[in-house]
Structures are given as C-alpha cells and as structure tokens.
C-alpha cells in the first residue's frame, strides 16, 4: 500500500514538474512564509494575508494566471523553489548577490531599510548615530557608524532571523555582539519583548507591525536606517533560473503595478507608507 502511494506521489510530482517546464503559466504557485507581518502573515482566522498576498493577486490578474499560495518555512524557502514545490517566492525576500547564485529574481517590487530595535528603557535607545547607514558608501562615515554600533552592542545578545540579509549584516559587521538566530520573526519578537535578547535587527515594517500589538508595545527603534550593499536591492519575487519567461512576466506586471500606483496603494495600506521602488 505504502509503496503504491509512494509511486503515485512520484508520478504526480513528475507529471507536475514536466507540466511546469512546458512554460504554461496559466497557473502559478506562489511560495510564501506567512509569518512576516505585514509582508505576509496568517490572520486570526488562519488565512494568509499581507501586502505581498494582495500584490501577488494583483500581479497574477495582470499575468492572466490563477494563483495558488503555498506556505513554506523560511529556512527551506529557496530549496523548495528549486525543487519545484512552487514557481515563485514572494516572502519579503531581498534581492542579493548571494541568493542570485541559486535563483533569479524579478525586478524589485518594494524596498525598505533595516533597523535595530530594543525595549523601551534600554540604554540603547539613547544611542546617537547618523540617521542613515548606506553600505554602498565606502567613506569613513560608514565605518564610523558601524564602529559606534559595535561599541554599543559589545557583548550584548542580538537577534536575527536565519538566512536573512540581517543575519549576513550582523555576521559581517556586528562582530562584537553575540548572535541569536531564530527560525521566524514572530519567535524573535517574543524573545525581544521578554528580554532574552538585548536587540533585534530586521526590516522596519515588520517591527512596526509588532509594535502595534499588545506584546510589542514595549519595543522601540534605535540606530540608523541600514540599506545598500549586502542588504540587497529591495524585495523581489524569487524565480527559478531556468524560468526566464516567468521572470519576464513578473517584471512586466510589476512595472505596470508600480506605474499605475497599485504598489503604492497596497504598501500604504499595510505599512503606512509608500514602498514602491
């Protein structure tokens, strides 16, 4: 019985993957995490919602495709794309050189800096730094700001979510701190409020969303807005490298949605500001 089941599954998988390779994009499966408010998250009713879910529906309509969402844990989200569990990732994923080695990306559909957060009353909230930290800028000012951050964070516990641009940034630039690596943003948020970590590094919008909840009411930002360099060129849809036709479809739909104000409208609804690239 089990062997029968195994072969049926194998057969279905094989037929589905050949179906996908045929380049028929009337049906597109979108992989997302569902734990990264307000980008993509699961509401109290258990439904997937968020800026990227709304945007994905809009883009799919423009591409004349039926969209189906597949939920996938963040740390396996790229392998699941390359294995064909879905056709595109829309999960707040920044376009980085490192990821481009494995997958390709559509053009960016939203862009937002990263920032550190801590709890109200922490000495970190009084830390004074430059307003912006642009990693594309090689001047002494960038090094100075990173130096200030490192001095303030020496020996402290800093939370990041696994396999994010934030983890890369902390590994590369925040060597004075002790890193704590979380599977999801939600779990890191809880530990930040509980005081298990002294600070967290993530996208601004997702921490703002957490600040709006009762358990996140004690959270505050500190330090500069961080962007550029290894933080990537904004958030785009991850696509298998061989699916260049699908990438072209996404690029066209994103350009249209940016031009007619759809991306601005959706991001304003979820983030309270326009994140259109």
């Amino acid at each position: 019985m089990r062997i029968f089941k195994f072969f049926t599954t194998l057969l279905i998988t094989l037929s589905l993957s050949s179906f996908a390779l045929a380049g028929d994009w009337s049906k597109i499966r979108i992989g997302t995490e569902g734990a990264y408010e307000p980008w993509n998250y699961t509401n109290a009713a258990g439904e997937l919602v968020g800026a990227e879910i709304d945007l994905a529906r809009d883009l799919c309509a423009r591409m004349n495709a039926d969209c189906e969402f597949v939920q996938q844990d963040w740390d396996g989200i790229i392998p699941a794309l390359t294995n064909g569990k879905y056709d595109a990732i829309m999960a707040g994923m920044s376009i980085t050189e490192e990821r481009m080695k494995t997958i390709s990306f559509s053009s960016a559909y939203m862009t937002e800096p990263a920032r550190m957060s801590t709890v109200k009353g922490s000495p970190l909230t009084t830390l004074s730094t430059a307003k912006n930290l642009n990693l594309d800028d090689d001047s002494g000012a960038t090094k100075g700001t990173i130096g200030t951050l490192n001095a303030a964070l020496k020996g402290l516990r800093i939370g990041v979510t696994a396999a994010t641009i934030h983890e890369d940034f902390a590994n590369t630039h925040l060597s004075s701190a002790e890193l704590k690596i979380y599977p999801t943003q939600d779990e890191m948020n809880l530990d930040l409020s509980a005081g298990r970590i002294d600070a967290a590094l993530s996208d601004i919008g997702t921490i703002e969303a957490y600040m709006g909840t009762p358990s996140g009411a004690n959270v505050a930002f500190f330090g500069p807005n961080i962007f550029g360099g290894l933080l990537g060129e904004g958030v785009g849809a991850g696509i298998r490298q061989e699916d260049s036709d699908l990438k072209a479809m996404f690029d066209k739909a994103i350009a249209e949605a940016a031009a007619d104000g759809t991306i601005g409208r959706i991001s304003t609804q979820y983030f309270g500001k326009d994140l259109a690239p």
Partner: protein, 226 residues
C-alpha cells in the same frame, strides 16, 4: 551530490556534538532521578500519592514534545510574574528550557518503564525478603530495584535513543547543536539533501554507540541468568 560541501559541513556540524551529548546526558540523568520518584509514587496504594504521578505521566506522554518546548520557552516568558521573579534567571536561558523540557519528557516515559519493571517482580521474591526480616527499604534496594533494572533495561535503552533524537528539537530555541548547525548551513547553501545526510549520519553513529553500551550493560546484568 556535492561531496566537497558534505566534507566541509561535516567539520562544522561535529562542533554541535558536545552540546547534543551534554543536553542528552544531563536530561537523561535528571530525568531518571525523577522517573524513579514518579514510578514509586505511581505504584503507591495511597491515591493522593499515586494520582499526581498518574496525571503527570498522562499529561507529558499525551502532548507533543515540540509543544511542551514552545510552552516552556515562549509560553512561560509571557507571564510578567515569572519575568520579574528569580525564576527568570533560569527561564531566560534557552539551555535551561531545553534541558527542563527533555527532563520532564524522559521522566514521564521512563517512569512507566520502571513501573512495568517493578510490577514484574514476582510476589514470591518480596515474600522471601519479608520472611528474612528485611525492611521495606532494604527489599526495595536489594530485591525490587535490581530485578527492575534488569527487566527495564531494554526498554530504557530505547528511551535513551529517543532522547538523542528528541534533542534535535532544541535547535528551534536558538541552541546550536547538530541539527541547529545543519539548518544554518542549509539556509546558506540551499543543499538540504547533502547536509541532512551528514547530520543524520552523525546521529546514527551516536545511537550506534549508545546501542552497544546498553547491550554491554544488558549482558553484564544477565550473567548467570538462564
């Protein structure tokens, strides 16, 4: 298959072995200690003693270990009463929460194994002890426990193997043991098959050694038995 990557990852993943062994060792020892107490309570004829043990075993065995870990790590930290008390010094540490969860789990399972072993001691042995004027404690020490250990050891060996595997769950509370390191490598290399094969082989090796040790202990204890 990227063999070079597997080779490189092996040396990164083995750095997680000490933490895995440490967590398994500590929680198994602590868990065994609690298990003996719980098993003794469980076989008591007094309802006020046996019932709490029964409900403890029932609660722990009836709920998933993952959920227990989430509850102890993320759940307890939600109560400001705990956060403001001395307990927070302990519960703040993922290491403590991981060991506590695994200890409670193995205590419940092992208590049932020990109870089974105790109840397999024939009444004749106990009567023989009594007729020689042995006290209750002396009978427990000289008759009941030795027979229990021999009876329960095969099942208990199974429990230790389950503990080695269950320890992989603590990677979700930021502890970087074998599975934690493997997951970190996967999230950078996107090569789950290669890395999980390496991590899985390390668990196989650990459990192979555990199985041998238990077999050795069983043979020693069964010397002179028909």
């Amino acid at each position: 298959m990227r063999f070079e990557l597997m080779y490189e990852s092996f040396f990164k993943i083995i750095k997680g072995i000490p933490l895995t062994l440490e967590v398994v060792f500590l929680s198994t020892i602590l868990g065994l200690f609690f298990a003996i107490i719980v098993a003794l309570m469980r076989v008591s004829k007094n309802k006020f003693i046996s019932n709490p043990a029964y409900y403890f075993i029932y609660g722990i065995r009836g709920t998933p270990l993952l959920l227990q870990l989430y509850f102890i790590y993320y759940g307890i930290g939600q109560f400001s009463v705990v956060r403001e008390s001395f307990l927070w010094v302990l519960f703040k540490e993922p290491y403590f929460c991981g060991i506590l969860t695994l200890t409670l789990s193995t205590a419940a399972y092992s208590a049932e194994i020990i109870r089974g072993g105790m109840q397999s001691v024939g009444p004749g042995y106990i009567e023989a002890g009594s007729s020689l004027g042995m006290s209750k404690m002396l009978r427990l020490r000289k008759i009941i426990l030795p027979i229990t250990i021999r009876q329960a050891l095969p099942a208990y060996g199974n429990e230790i193997i389950l503990m080695v595997k269950a320890s992989s769950l603590i990677s979700i509370v930021t502890l970087m043991e074998i599975t934690g390191i493997a997951r970190t490598i996967i999230s950078k290399t996107y090569a789950p098959v290669e890395i999980f094969i390496v991590a899985g082989s390390i668990y196989l090796l650990i459990n192979f050694i555990v199985t041998r040790l238990i077999k050795f202990a069983e043979n020693r204890l069964n010397q002179g038995q028909a």
